[in-house]
């Protein structure tokens, strides 16, 4: 049985989609981060100013841009930074699947930074069907959330005639990905499909299942190219124009009233992100089952790259926290979460096993996954030999 290869610098495994490990054993995400040193941030800041100026509403009768937000640390940073740059943004939220109390408080805090705010909540009865379908069919309970995070702000932009959408981070810059994407900072439909992590499942696949019809899926529908062209909708990633760092964003946000969780969130290493959706624990767990890395790995890598954690310590922390069965997330027990999408715990565990890539985990002589008392799996190796 072959072993999993890890980046020699951070602790990301090669099994992550769109990640390359080069001849020196260093992954593409680390290399991308390396390139940051060569970036002329002053120039990028000027480019940003130019773009913002180009799209600012001349008459002042419309917003200068849409800023998609969730209430999290990055949303706070994006919003505050845009306000500091003299923009009049319209904050738009696509409500998460299972909004937590702290998530709601942080949304209220974001509004208080001084923005007009629109929140679009999809039909919860439809939503839970989609959560369940997506979990069973593609092993991602958060699929509908990932769709609406893109579609809802873009739909608002079209409907209100606001051409510029300011996203936060370009996932390809920090998390690695083909150079082509990292060089392109504008959000086109093609980009969405290729890198937006839509997992191959499309809104059209849902029609006809469990009574779902197009009329239930309006908010999940991306506007047509024609509508986008008419308004001239474009998007940019703030993370391309400023040296993006989730932790600095957290500090900045906290100083502006953003509330963190009393302890590190389950399965992660920190208390300042992914605080708004109780289903995120399941989402992260499935990443682990499919690809052998979870949220703890993501975070450890981010901090290792920035010199805040040494690799050996990162390996240890990942071993301790990554990929544990999500019995509780943000204090919500899993039974409650799966019940809210009309599944039993047994159903859920069956789906977990179905999507587990057995090649990455220890199995017994009969080929069954080895689980400890708490249902946790063990990877075949947690580091390079």
């Amino acid at each position: 049985m072959r072993s999993i290869k890890y980046c020699a610098r951070c602790v990301m495994p090669e099994t992550k989609p769109d990640l390359f490990i080069d001849g020196d054993g260093v992954c593409s995400a680390c290399r991308n981060y390396e390139r940051r040193g060569a970036v002329d941030w002053d120039r990028r800041r000027q480019e940003l100013q130019t773009i913002l100026e180009r799209y600012r509403s001349k008459s002042g009768e419309n917003y200068d841009c849409v800023v998609p937000v969730s209430g999290g640390k990055d949303s706070h940073f994006q919003t505050i930074r845009l306000l500091e740059l003299g923009m009049n943004p319209l904050a738009v939220t696509a409500t998460t699947d299972h909004l937590s109390a702290i998530g709601r408080r942080n949304i209220e805090n974001l509004k208080k930074q001084g923005v007009d705010y629109i929140e679009v909540t999809t039909n919860p009865l439809v939503r839970r069907k989609i959560n369940r379908l997506a979990l069973a069919q593609v092993g991602d309970i958060s699929w509908p959330e990932h769709v609406t995070i893109f579609t809802i702000p873009v739909r608002i932009a079209v409907q209100l005639g606001i051409p510029l959408i300011v996203w936060g981070e370009n996932p390809q810059n920090e998390y690695g990905g083909p150079a082509g994407a990292a060089a392109d900072n504008v959000l086109t439909r093609r980009w969405l499909e290729e890198f937006g992590g839509l997992l191959g499942l499309r809104v059209s696949d849902l029609v006809g299942r469990e009574g779902l019809e197009p009329r239930h899926l309006i908010q999940y529908t991306y506007p047509s190219d024609e509508a986008l062209r008419r308004v001239g909708v474009t998007g940019l990633f703030l993370g391309y124009y400023v040296p993006w760092d989730g932790y600095s964003n957290a500090l900045y946000a906290q100083a502006h009233g953003f509330e963190t969780y009393p302890q590190p969130v389950e399965g992660a290493l920190v208390n300042y992100e992914n605080l708004d959706n109780a289903q995120t624990g399941i989402h992260d767990y499935f990443k682990f089952l499919k690809y052998g890395f979870g949220r703890a790995t993501d975070l450890a890598c981010l901090h290792v790259r920035r010199g805040r954690l040494v690799r050996a310590d990162a390996v240890k922390l990942v071993r301790m926290h990554d990929g544990k069965f999500p019995w509780v997330y943000l204090g919500t027990p899993i039974e409650e979460i799966v019940r809210s999408i009309d599944m039993t715990l047994d159903d859920f565990i069956r789906v977990c096993d179905r999507f587990t890539n057995k090649k990455l985990f220890e199995c017994d002589a009969r080929g069954n996954l080895v689980k400890d008392r708490d249902g946790n799996l063990t990877k075949i190796n947690y580091d390079n030999p």
């Binding site: 072959r2 999993i4 090669e14 099994t15 992550k16 989609p17 769109d18 990640l19 069919q137 593609v138 092993g139 083909p178 439909r189 093609r190 499909e193 290729e194 997992l199 191959g200 499942l201 499309r202 059209s204 696949d205 299942r209 499919k290 690809y291 179905r354 999507f355 890539n357 057995k358 090649k359 990455l360 080929g367």
Partner: protein, 252 residues
């Protein structure tokens, strides 16, 4: 009449699905289970699943993975990669494959095709031919995932395989693969005219029009694609709708 088949191809490398360009620059594109389930949801005509490093790793086919995937697959499944013996075929059929694709073994052990066809029937033997265009416009066939030239052109190879009892040809243009620039129509036509068994065109599909071209001019019986489905918003269903409008018989 038999319908034109539109099928996605899944390429499996080590632990998960990949997609490449010209059989190189492999990019991880995600979980095989997920892809199988999505295509099953979409009720595609057929699914082709190839383990691209089995032969170079010197491994037999991964029966366990195929078994797991086939459990979720209620459409016809062709499985290839590392198939070298009759026993391999028997096991793959048992765990859920409907047809078995043979590439390197078809060239190195041509008698194997005969053995398999005699035992299980021609209809379950797919000879998988990978080809590159030479500068002079002729074609060369390759084994070992495109690395070793055979010294025989694909039409001749296909003919020999047919004579040995192969029931179908999966013809892939290495040059076009992953480029989204269109199938190699000429290559397809050469092979289709050389044999009387069905030929599946593969390698290069980027648009539905490309599919129509290779069906019309290349005379293929089926069209396979991978990058097109992984990286664009195009789907097998929309492909069939386009093809129907273009006058081809499809299952809708």
């Amino acid at each position: 009449m038999p319908k034109i088949r539109v099928m996605p191809t899944l390429l499996f490398k080590d632990v998960g699905l990949v997609k490449g360009v010209a059989f190189d620059s492999w990019r991880r594109v995600g979980s095989a289970m997920q892809a199988v389930k999505v295509y099953n949801m979409r009720e595609v005509d057929e699914l082709v699943y190839l383990d691209i490093t089995a032969t170079s790793d010197g491994r037999p086919p991964d029966f366990e993975t195929v078994d797991d995937l086939a459990d979720e697959c209620f459409m016809p499944l062709t499985v290839g990669g590392g198939v070298r013996t009759v026993e391999h075929v028997r096991r793959l059929l048992k765990v859920g494959a409907d047809k078995v694709a043979i590439n390197t073994a078809a060239v190195e052990q041509p008698a194997l095709i005969r053995e398999i066809a005699d035992r299980f029937g021609s209809q379950c033997v797919v000879v998988s031919i990978d080809a590159r265009r030479r500068p002079d416009g002729t074609y060369e066939s390759y084994t070992h995932a495109g690395r070793r030239p055979v010294g025989k052109n694909p039409a001749a190879l296909a003919k020999d395989a047919e004579a040995m009892g192969a029931g179908e040809v999966l013809l892939t243009s290495i040059d076009r693969d992953g480029t989204l620039q269109g199938y190699d129509v000429e290559l397809t036509r050469l092979v289709c005219e050389a044999v009387s068994i069905p030929v599946i065109a593969s390698g290069g599909a980027g648009t539905y029009a490309h599919m129509a071209d290779v069906l019309r001019e290349g005379r293929a019986s089926a069209v396979a694609a991978a990058s097109m489905y992984h990286f664009t918003e195009q789907t097998p269903l929309a492909a069939k709708q386009y093809l129907r409008e273009a006058g081809f018989p499809v299952r809708l």
